[in-house]
């Protein structure tokens, strides 16, 4: 198993409460725990994945959402990741379904009145995006961004393998259109702006891989994302990091592309930096290199 060392490090930094912090020395929080639980499940580490799911279930809010961390009471973007970690497990599916209900209500805001007034008086539009398309935000009450929208789409698709009902289909479709609308000229995505004050923007590799994961799960026409795959490959030629390579491998697996070359780079990068001991990168890398299917993949293997 090429991910053995990465997986062992992930197990080693687990907290006594069953969850994971963002790094080894931090209290458990939702994103790292959800990702690590998925990695443990893919590696058939039953004890660790069960304890991690218990930690997640304990942190769920009454409204079905998850906070970023237990000390912060607000609902958050981490809900999508908790849902992905809990779905289809006997001990977690009911909690995941409550999370899905919250995701269907959560929505990014449009362009605020202050900005629209500014644009009116200045006679210029700050961005080129379609403000009517609203996906999911990082924090409730703020703008929609590419990465949280991608994770929400994955969660909704995983919740209904035979095809989601309305209103989930409407939210997924709006999210798909939002992501495509935010595509940078030349392909790929950054956090979610393609043009600002007339200046074209360029993409980030990790954001691009996350968006392509969601669009792959939606089985969009490959022709619609050909430029974005080209952009991702260009960026990968000059980017070495556990986060970017792991998300890119998962993306390639979703699209049934061969990620073997990236897998070699990922292992080498772990030897170089240990991914800075970040749970997120360790967990994503473990999933990326796992032989089993993982919750991040809807159609891929």
């Amino acid at each position: 198993m090429r991910n053995a060392a990465i997986l062992e490090r992930l197990v080693a930094i687990r907290n006594p409460d069953g969850g994971w912090g963002t790094t080894a020395d931090r209290p458990s929080s939702t994103e790292p725990t959800a990702l690590a639980v998925m990695a443990m499940a893919a590696a058939a580490r039953a004890a660790e994945s069960t304890a991690g799911r218990s930690w997640l279930i304990e942190q769920q809010r009454a409204d079905g959402a998850w906070p970023v961390t237990p000390s912060v009471p607000e609902p958050s973007w981490c809900t999508s990741l908790a849902v992905l970690a809990l779905l289809d497990h006997d001990d977690g599916d009911a909690a995941a379904r409550r999370g899905i209900d919250w995701l269907l209500v959560e929505k990014g805001i449009g362009v605020p009145l202050r900005e629209r007034i500014r644009e009116f008086f200045h006679g210029t539009k700050t961005t080129a995006l379609d403000p009517t398309l609203r996906g999911w935000p990082w924090a409730t009450g703020t703008f929609s961004w590419v990465e949280p929208t991608s994770y929400a789409i994955l969660a909704l698709l995983r919740a209904w393998p035979a095809g989601p009902p309305r209103p989930a289909t409407d939210r997924i479709e709006e999210g798909r259109r939002m992501i495509l609308d935010r595509t940078c000229p030349g392909g790929g995505w950054n956090f979610g702006n393609k043009r600002v004050l007339g200046v074209d923007m360029e993409p980030y590799p990790d954001s691009t891989a996350a968006a392509l994961l969601a669009l792959g799960a939606l089985r969009v026409d490959p022709a619609d994302v050909r430029e974005s795959f080209d952009a991702l490959e260009r960026m990968l030629a000059e980017t070495r990091s556990g986060l970017t390579l792991s998300l890119s491998i998962l993306c390639y697996r979703e699209w049934r592309r061969d990620p073997a070359a990236m897998a070699d780079l990922l292992v080498a990068d772990f030897d170089r930096t240990g991914f800075l001991d970040e749970t997120r990168s360790l967990a994503l890398a473990s999933m990326a290199l796992a032989d089993a299917t993982v919750p991040f993949l809807v159609n891929g293997k």
Binding site: G21, T22, T23, R26, P27, S29, E31, P32, V68, T69, S71, V72, E74, S76, I109, V111, P112, R114, E115, R118, T126, T127, L129, P131, P137, W138, A139, G141, T142, F143, W145, E147, N190, F191, G192, N193, V196, L197, V199, D200, M201, E202, Y204, P205, D206, T239, R240, S241, G242, L243, T244, T273, F275, L276, E278, R280, S281
Partner: protein, 337 residues
Amino acid sequence: MDRRKFVRTAALASIAPVMGCDRPTLLPPQPWSLDAVRKPDLSPVAVLAADAYDGRLVDIVRRGAQLAGLDVSGKRVVLKPNFVEFDPGAVINTNPVLITATLEALRSMGATSVVVAEGTGHRRDTEYIMTASGLYDALRDIGGRYIDLNGDAVRPFRSLGQYTGLGELWLPETVAGADLLVSMPKMKTHHWAGVTLSMKNLFGIMPGAIYGWPKNVLHVRGIHQSIMDINATLPVPRFNIVDGIVGMEGNGPIQGTARQSGVLVFGADPVAVDATAARLMGIDPARVWYILQADRFLGNIDDAVIEQRGEPITRFAQDYALIEGMQNLRQPITTSG
């Protein structure tokens, strides 16, 4: 668009949809809590020459810190540089050589521990920014530690500024639990805030996990207002070291061009330090909205109560280029050409 041009536009894009970026035009009535008031009677600020990023900086930083009255003996210190983005062809970031020199200088002055901490503003890929910028290797070589504030444990603090309307701010435990926070900004112009120096640099302590990438919650509430609330609320003693060896002029904080200034600015009063750095850039600090606000209760911009130590400002002062719309920030009397 090449990589450099892209990174230069990234900062703009991060705040554009919901920026609230126009400068407030009126001084509001006093919104801050009396608990936030910390304006000293006199603010020592040291200005020292430093013409390159090399090994001599350890001694220069030690001298600057001592001139400005810094005592780190027995203290747990957090260095907060500016790593909002990375571009190998630009001068966006606090230089890693200065960061490690500061770490070594403070260790030699008796600090119990010194760590480097930042919460990058645009990208979630900390490993990439660390390794590509050279900070990873530089810290490894001296046994230094980096902490990603975007995923740090957090504690709520009642907002003592009340400029944004946010009732509380979630601050990272690494910063809130330190004995001393050293803000280490790059000396730069800023296309929305006017200048980005010690106070603006603290945007980077706000955890992305809660405030987003970009830190959208704060942009929605207004950049100037958020600067005020963060600086008013932070419950930790402060020191500030401005990297003006090579600064950025024009369309900063990312899109601007390099400007050699050959100077470092040291001081405990962030308002006095920022006012001094602004003057070094040919900018009137009283014309920068948030600095003027900060003068009301957080520190001093009046040079009559800033005790200048080290080199005279006039030796290094230059007129940094300002973009259209920021020309009104220029000092009435230019200090140099």
